[in-house]
Amino acid sequence: MNVRSKDKIARFAFLLAAMVTILILVLIIFYVLFNGLRVVTFEFLTSPIKEMGKEGGIFPTIISSIYLALLSIIIATPLAVGTAVFLTEYTRENVATKIIRFGANCLAGIPSIIFGLFGFVFFVIYLRFGWSILSGSLTLACMILPTIIRTSEEAIKSVSYTYKEVTYALGGTKLQGIYKIVLPKALPGILTGIILGMGRAIEETAVLIFTAGLSIHIPTSVFSSGRSMAVHFYTLAREGISIEKAFGTAAVLVISILIINSISYFIMYRFMRKYT
């Protein structure tokens, strides 16, 4: 087989691979949306859950999901960005920072169920928060903290040193340097991390079953239990309570992810345009 045909075959193989990947994606999305969208009506989105999910809608789960995601991000982001700034700007590279970074990377990689175990034993039982939005978001915050630290750190580090030099040369203080130059440039990266974290919070199931619980009611305070959309989907699908409503919930989930992803792209695009 001569070289030219090998080349052609190789190109074709790679194209095939890409097409197969995209095909899988499209099939999955179509399967979910096709079966699910016919269930998703305004009623579905705004009605309470009845008969453990066989009837009614998914409104409480939407509220719970939003509540959990927002709360966990509010808790995790300041902590994470602060740590990232601290690690990159206020310390020198020494053993301590290396250990911290390694630790954060490891925690970013450990299976989420371990956070679930931790959250269940620590927040639900030991601290007696019970199954609640509080237990859920605290556990989620712990889970996404390392991820946001890592992405923020990389984003901040990648901002060229020259920018900071210029700031000092112009007479600015270190803080001004950070605030006005570094953070804005690093913002797309940081935001990606936050949105990644939010995505994890919305899709996370095992952790939430054991920390936020299965309540079908709208959570009225942080101490109420509430089931997120992903948990509701899991329950409906697994127990065979209502396959069609399961599809409906999945459709809403997938569309939410779509929206979140698009927003993140939009933000990144605008920031890229603004600062480069």
Partner: protein, 259 residues
């Protein structure tokens, strides 16, 4: 960004707990019934919120002991000794049916055959009837009241086969059996639906009537457990569970009332 923070603080502080609430957790067999009756109760008492979590009978016992839930639900033939300090109220009875896929031609099992199937002595459907194929046993996990009761009443001292697959609730076992023609498992009689076939056991059909008559032997009580005397709200709900209205709903929906 600030707007988001405002809205979320609104959630945090604005909606103070104007409702009273109790939490139940435990038996997945009783969970849908508890949920249904909680709905009925909440319609009568709109300022009360009742949350029902699942997790299995052992979780119900554990969380009741630790006071994390107001009422633990456990459906076991015999409660473990950890549960001794708890106040127990029986609210219903529930039978366990051995089920196979509806396409399976087998329709009955003796207790000896059941023991052999679930312990792995009998591994092929042809040993029981005309159908051929590997018998796939599906069981519940260890913390399940249904599992513990089944183990005690059917298996006795015999151990479950090493090849058993596990699912974590009555509903998931039912779905697994519904899709696999070669599988066999057990669920609460209250969970039976078309799609799975309950097997006649030792000549007795697994129905609620037969349990009440005392001729179908695989059944267990459903306990409501509280740590010490139930709280005021919990007591009210327990009283409701024992009322005629609640018991008739329990009966209508597929469990066995205690009246």
């Amino acid at each position: 960004m600030l707007l988001l923070i405002f809205i979320s603080s609104g959630f945090l502080f604005g909606c103070a707990r104007k409702t009273q609430s109790i939490v139940l957790a435990g038996s997945t067999a009783f969970q849908p019934f508890a949920e249904k009756l909680a709905e009925v109760y909440m319609e009568k008492h709109p300022n009360v919120t009742i949350d029902v979590q699942g997790g299995g009978s052992a979780l119900g016992i554990m969380t009741a002991l630790q006071g994390i839930v107001d009422i633990g639900m456990a459906d076991m033939v015999k409660l473990p000794k950890e549960a001794d300090p708890l106040t127990k109220t029986i609210v219903a009875m529930d039978g366990i049916a051995i089920i196979v896929n509806e396409k399976n031609s087998i329709s009955k099992l003796t207790s000896i055959e059941a023991q052999k199937v679930f312990s792995g002595d009998i591994t092929d459907w042809s040993q029981l009837g005309p159908k051929k194929g590997n018998i796939r046993v599906i069981s519940r996990e260890d913390g399940s009241g249904t599992r513990k009761s089944f183990d005690k009443l059917v298996l006795g001292k015999i151990k479950l086969t090493k090849n058993a697959m596990y699912q974590d609730s009555n509903g998931t076992i039912r779905e697994a059996i519904k899709s696999d023609p070669n599988s066999i498992g057990y669920i609460s009689i209250g969970f039976l639906i078309p799609g799975v076939k309950p097997l006649v056991f030792d000549g007795v059909a697994p129905t609620n009537e037969n349990v009440k008559k005392g001729i179908y032997k695989i059944f267990r009580p459903v306990y409501f457990l509280t740590n010490g005397e139930p709280g005021r709200l919990a007591q009210k709900f327990i009283n409701f569970m024992l009322s005629d209205e609640a018991q008739s709903i329990i009966k209508k929906d597929g469990l066995i009332s205690i009246k």
